[in-house]
């Protein structure tokens, strides 16, 4: 496939920019921030902390490729954490039940939002804005105060660490410590692989691109545009449900303020990863690197001593702005 194309397509150009930016940033971090970033565990910690974001971003990419947007994912994450926490602690539930709750919440949001967007033709932004506020409000209604989950079964699951052989490092006491990842990371990687395959090799994946690129011509080609849009929103919200559970497994508590601004980070990651807002262009591998870039920059900001909360917001916004402008320039070039 690469041989046929002599020049870089726009999609590949955006993807290349992202990957180059990520590696430059990581090398920069190693050069300026000292050896902390050389340890494999630093990298794995970034993954551990952002597994949920990775899953959310994958869903967001699918919706954005189809030409929509979903800003309710952060709210859904918070709602899932709170509901699971309440179920596990106050109703003595088991972990499987909690997983079922997470999936059910994701599905419910997906069906309602997908229906409104696809079949009633309402702007996705307005629908998911309402979805976000609904989810945040419901989180408070379910339970007001944040609390830690003490359910034994869950805590055992939360503390499972998967050791990665050969990647350990010496800690401050000179003791060899194995590098590890949490279960959430495995789930996230699985999601990335599955979605990559779906987008690349299945009919549905092709439909997503076709509808996002030009829904009019997709309709002419006999694609069920409405169903495709519906499925993209369904998939995104379902992934938000899964991502919510992974987030819950990482933090182990329920709170109304959880995953504040996660939708923003997910959109930023997708955009940095080369997904076009206008739809039709995007790549899950790009999204993966987008998430890594975003979380690395957050890590750099906090380890540089600029730990005042505002710097993170400003740096992410600046990065988002930069990549939006790059996209806009690419689009303008394409029209010429």
């Amino acid at each position: 496939m690469q041989k046929k194309r002599k020049t870089l397509t726009d999609a590949n150009l955006l993807l290349t920019i992202t990957i180059v930016v990520f590696f430059l940033m990581y090398i920069g971090a190693i050069l300026f921030q000292g050896k902390g970033f050389l340890k494999p565990q630093t990298f794995f910690n970034i993954l551990n902390a952002n597994a949920a974001l990775l899953i959310l971003s994958c869903g967001m990419s699918v919706v954005m490729i189809t030409g929509g947007i979903d800003i309710s994912v952060g709210g859904v994450t918070a709602l899932v954490s709170m509901c699971c926490a309440v179920y596990l602690d106050y109703h003595n539930g088991n972990v499987l039940g909690a997983v079922a709750i997470a999936l059910a919440i994701g599905l419910a949001f997906g069906i309602v939002q997908g229906f409104l967007v696809a079949y009633l033709d309402i702007q996705p932004f307005i629908v998911s804005l309402a979805g976000m506020f609904f989810a945040r409000g419901m989180t408070t209604i379910v339970n007001t105060n944040p609390f830690n989950v003490a359910n034994e079964e869950f805590v055992a699951l939360k503390n499972v660490r998967i050791i990665i052989p050969g990647m350990g490092s010496l800690n401050k006491l000179g003791k060899y410590v194995n590098a590890y990842v949490e279960i959430g990371v495995i789930i996230a990687i699985l999601v990335v692989i599955i979605l990559f395959c779906v987008l690349k090799w299945t009919r549905l994946g092709r439909f997503f691109y076709a509808v996002g690129g030009n829904s009019q011509s997709a309709l002419m080609l006999g694609i069920n545009v409405k169903r495709t849009k519906f499925l993209s929103h369904l998939l995104c919200s379902l992934l938000a449900g899964i991502g919510g559970f992974v987030y819950f497994m990482h933090v182990g508590s329920g709170a109304a303020s959880h995953a504040m601004g996660a939708e923003m980070n997910a959109i930023a990651s997708s955009i940095i990863g080369g997904t076009m807002l206008t739809g039709g262009v995007g790549n899950i591998i790009g999204t993966f690197f987008g998430v890594l870039s975003l979380s690395t920059i957050q890590n750099i900001v906090s380890s540089a001593g600029l730990d005042q909360a505002w710097w993170t917001g400003i740096t992410i916004a600046a990065m988002l702005c930069l990549f939006l402008v790059i996209q806009s320039v690419v689009m303008a070039r394409k029209k010429k």
Binding site: I126, F133, F134, R136, I141, A256, L277, I316, V325, S328
Partner: protein, 362 residues
């Protein structure tokens, strides 16, 4: 007059007439809420005349709260309507830019000391500086939307994330407090006048906007750009500039709302000030029956919409709904509104209407 005519119309025409009257939606919503409150608890409408803590005569009661807090929303609704009409998208950074403008006002008033005994600059200077800053941020959004052709909601997402951080940074994350009583007049009461000042400020803003729309081509051009960008360009308009202008005007509205907001507290809380106000402002525009995809707009309906939203909020508060849970109820209202105003549902209703009238004729 409308109802007299309606008696002679068929059901389908009645549906069409009612739905096509833009001002109908906010008025119907207002009536619904008013009747609900009347049944639930008539004391909602009680207005008492008393003396506030500063010794000034004031009117108080739920209706006064609505007038008071609905005003900043009405001011934002003016700008948001223009942005919606011109760009077909909404600005979701208004809450964050209110934080920035408020922070600027306090910074100018306080100078380097965060607890000044006297104001370091006249209030009008602080307000003008805030206006300029808010317009610059509006211009930033405007450039991204108009010249880089980024979807408005995504372009404003940048400031939505960074805005509150920038606001905190302007004041070095300190929380300045203004002790001068004159500063609190803008968000409270001017001694001797029992009606809250924000209402007058909102009235002034609305008057200026109405004059601008009446004596300039702003309204016409904005609608033209919103309805069809390329044909308005072929007709000699500059669509990019009109969009840009609408964001700058919204910036000005934001500065005015920020003055009211910081004056209420005589201080600022960066993460809480004007939280979720973007949702309310968009809701006001939607409730006013304006198409969220741009084009024609009706400023009066939007302003009505803003006060109706505040009516809803106050009603919910009265029923002891927690402030954190409010968004859930409002979201239901938004979904209901956008569903009934969506073209698919309207066509469906109209079909049903015509079927019923056909049966009636047969």
């Amino acid at each position: 007059m409308q109802t007299k005519k309606a008696n002679k119309l068929t059901v389908s025409e009645l549906f069409g007439k009612l739905l096509s009257q833009q001002i109908f939606i906010p008025i119907a919503a207002l009536l619904l809420l008013a009747i609900f409150n009347l049944i639930a608890d008539p004391s909602f409408y009680k207005i008492t005349y008393g003396i506030n803590s500063a010794g000034a005569p004031v009117l108080s009661g739920y209706l006064m709260t609505i007038l008071d807090y609905g005003s900043e929303l009405a001011i934002l609704a003016v700008g948001m309507t223009l942005v919606t009409a011109a760009s077909g998208g909404q600005d979701i950074s208004v809450g964050a830019t209110i934080a920035i403008a408020g922070s600027v006002i306090l910074r100018v008033l306080c100078g380097t000391n965060s607890r000044p005994d006297t104001l370091q600059a006249p209030i009008i200077v602080a307000f003008l500086v805030a206006c300029v800053v808010a317009m610059i941020f509006g211009a930033f959004n405007g450039v991204l939307v108009a010249y880089f052709k980024i979807q408005p909601m995504v372009a404003t997402l940048i400031l939505f994330t960074a805005g509150r951080s920038i606001a905190a940074w302007i004041n070095n994350n300190e929380l300045p407090i203004i002790s001068d009583p004159v500063f609190s007049y803008f968000g409270g009461f001017i001694p001797g006048i029992p009606i809250p000042t924000p209402f007058f400020i909102a009235a002034a803003v609305v008057a200026v906007a109405a004059l601008a729309l009446k004596f300039t081509n702003l309204g016409l051009y904005t609608q033209a750009v919103g309805i069809n960008e390329s044909s308005s360009r072929l007709n000699g308009l500059n669509p990019a500039f009109i969009k840009f202008l609408s964001f700058v005007i919204l910036g000005l509205c934001v500065a005015v709302a920020a003055l009211i907001k910081v004056s209420r507290l005589s201080s600022i809380n960066y993460s809480v000030i004007a939280k979720d106000i973007e949702m309310d402002a968009i809701l006001a525009v939607a409730l006013g029956g304006n198409a969220l995809s741009g084009g024609k707009f009706n400023l009066t309906a939007s302003i009505m919409g803003a006060y109706v939203i505040q009516f809803l909020t106050t009603t919910l508060y009265k029923f002891n709904v927690q402030s954190d849970a409010l968004p859930a109820y409002k979201a239901v209202v938004v979904i209901f509104l956008v569903v009934i105003s969506s073209s698919v549902v309207r066509d469906y209703l109209r079909n049903i209407g015509s079927k019923i009238s056909k049966k009636g004729v047969a």
